[in-house]
Amino acid sequence: MAAWLVRRLVASIAIVFAVVTITFFVVHLAHGTPCGPGDRPLPPEVCQQLCRRFGCDKPLRVQYVKYLAALAQGDLSESIGLHRPVADALADAIPNTFILALAALLVDFALGLALGIYQAVRAGRFGDVAAGNVALLVNSMPVFWLGLVLLLVFAQWLRWFPAGGITNPVLCPRIDSPYCLLDFLWHLTLPALTLGLVGAASTARYQRAAMLEVVSQDYVRTARAKGLRERRVLLVHALRNALLPIITLFGLAFPFLFTGAVLIETVFAWPGMGRLAVNAIFQRDYPVVTGAALVTSATVVLGNLIADVLYAVADPRVRVPGEGR
């Protein structure tokens, strides 16, 4: 297992490195420079001065080598538009995205599991078909549109939740009291619910299929033949094995959460990494874009790796390649 893990880690680092390289060259090839894509270009002499400062007057490969050299020392360079190191900007934004993703995952798995199990228990009957169709519809919605609709209903019409932002900027500029924590959770509810609902719909589909597959196995019949109550057979005997696919879903959830976060953070004015990255793309802020791509791809690759390891640990039938039996 150790050798396999090392090999996977090396491959993961190589993938992240490739993503950073591609991103670096794509953003630098982009039309327009940081100081002049807009309607009011800066005077050329100011632009040249800025360029000298950020090194964009040098050939691309020199810049690339310089960026890598800095990266090797853990330095993500300085942002062009934010007047601060990229690492600082990311450090401010990542926790917000992380908490949003975590809350969304919680909604996703809690709701998805419950619905999937319910559907499997009532398989083929009205409850299953109705729930399945509702889940399919929710899963087919554009995630940002669902966010807009929830905003309209719960923030605008019913006024139960705030319309955006991370906390109340006047009363709670930072989270330093129980009241402010509550305020933060209150702001978190709608975006997390939006992302979670769309995820839960697909989790429920997988969970239903996994549960149905397990229920048809011999040991479940044995448990029933022993005279155990149906509830116990399903929720204790069958569920344990039907939970395995969740690990795979956990690994797959990362790309979806990031894509969703880019859009959801825009809808709910959530100051996370998605919004940081989108704004940076619009402003041609090369270092921020490359830094965000680095963090994102690392998260995706790491998520897959964790899922594989968990799978090998949780399911004794799964053996990693190269390991003796």
């Binding site: 993938i15 953003v27 982009a30 399919l136 087919s140 791509a293 994102t296 791809s297």
Partner: protein, 307 residues
């Protein structure tokens, strides 16, 4: 909406119903057709898809206004009424007309992008699976990288390359970032098919690699490609909507469903209709595509017969 538009809309619905019923009657003669229609929502999904395609084709008769026409710029945001079926948007354009014309853009982008993705994915997967070794390793590492890059991010960066992007370039880009999953699927399929006797026989008869791949291997791998294609169109449409929503997708006056959501977004609190209906249309079509894709999976898998 005048009388003619209503008649045309009704005609489209009736025509769709007839087409679906006729299709059902024909394919029920085959086992695969019966498996397809056994899926609880396949028929409804087929109807929704056929309806939107019909309406998109017949857009000039079904839509009362041109998609760009600003009816009364001093009084935008008309609520839905008999005259404006789904209301008018903040630029005083008829939402129903834009929705109908937008079906052309959104469905077209989804279908063409998926075609691009399926072609590239199948080609890469077949080559990797058939030639194995170095080619396989190199191509699959490329796929690993592609899957690790968040797609919306890649697309945003690529779109930023051009200030004003042409529609066909956008479609190509969406397609060219969407083939990684398909190529993995096809590769797995080809890897197992190439060891079969009929492939060995073809090779023994002197068939070249191209002939073996196209004539003997790929036709047997068609089912999973078709299913993933049907499911993939929905993903493409959602992606297009997301990009357009961020202002980096379909160029603005063109009526794509994602664009329409973006146009109405900022006035959602006073005029909910202009963003709600296009989103509903996307949801319905993507759901229909998912249902049809699922049913196709059942239909193309003979092992499902016993169930």
């Amino acid at each position: 909406m005048n009388l003619w538009n209503w008649l045309a809309l009704g005609g489209a619905a009736v025509l769709t119903l007839i087409v679906v019923a006729e299709l059902r009657r024909r394919v029920r003669a085959t086992a695969a057709g019966r498996r397809f229609f056994r899926h609880p929502t396949a028929e409804l999904g087929l109807f929704v898809l056929a309806f939107f395609v019909t309406v998109a084709i017949a857009a000039p008769v079904v839509a009362p206004y041109a998609p760009y026409y600003q009816i009364d710029i001093e009084h935008p945001d008309h609520a839905p009424s008999a005259q404006f079926l789904l209301g008018t948007d903040p630029l005083s354009r008829d939402v129903w007309s834009r929705l109908v014309y937008g079906a052309r853009v959104s469905l077209g982008i989804g279908a063409v992008a998926m075609l691009v993705a399926a072609t590239v994915g199948t080609a890469v997967g077949a080559v990797a699976g058939y030639f194995r070794r170095g080619v396989d390793a190199a191509l699959m590492r490329l796929v690993d990288v592609g899957l690790a890059m968040p797609r919306i991010f890649v697309l945003l960066m690529a779109v930023a390359l051009w200030e004003h992007i042409a529609l066909w370039v956008l479609v190509l880009l969406i397609g060219l970032t969407g083939w990684f999953g398909t190529s993995r699927l096809v590769r797995a399929e080809v890897l197992s098919l190439r060891e079969r006797e009929f492939v060995a026989a073809a090779r023994a008869l002197g068939a070249g690699a191209g002939r073996v791949i196209f004539r003997h291997v790929l036709p047997n791998a068609a089912a999973p490609i078709i299913v993933s294609g049907a499911l993939g169109i929905g993903h493409m449409m959602l992606l297009e909507a997301g990009l357009s929503f961020l202002g980096l997708g379909v160029p603005s006056p063109a009526p794509s469903w994602g664009n329409m959501i973006a146009d109405g977004w900022h006035k959602m609190s006073v005029a909910w209709w202009s963003s709600t209906f296009p989103g509903l249309a996307i949801s319905l079509v993507v759901m229909a595509l998912n249902a049809v894709g699922d049913a196709l999976r059942d239909a193309l898998d003979p092992r499902k017969e016993a169930a």
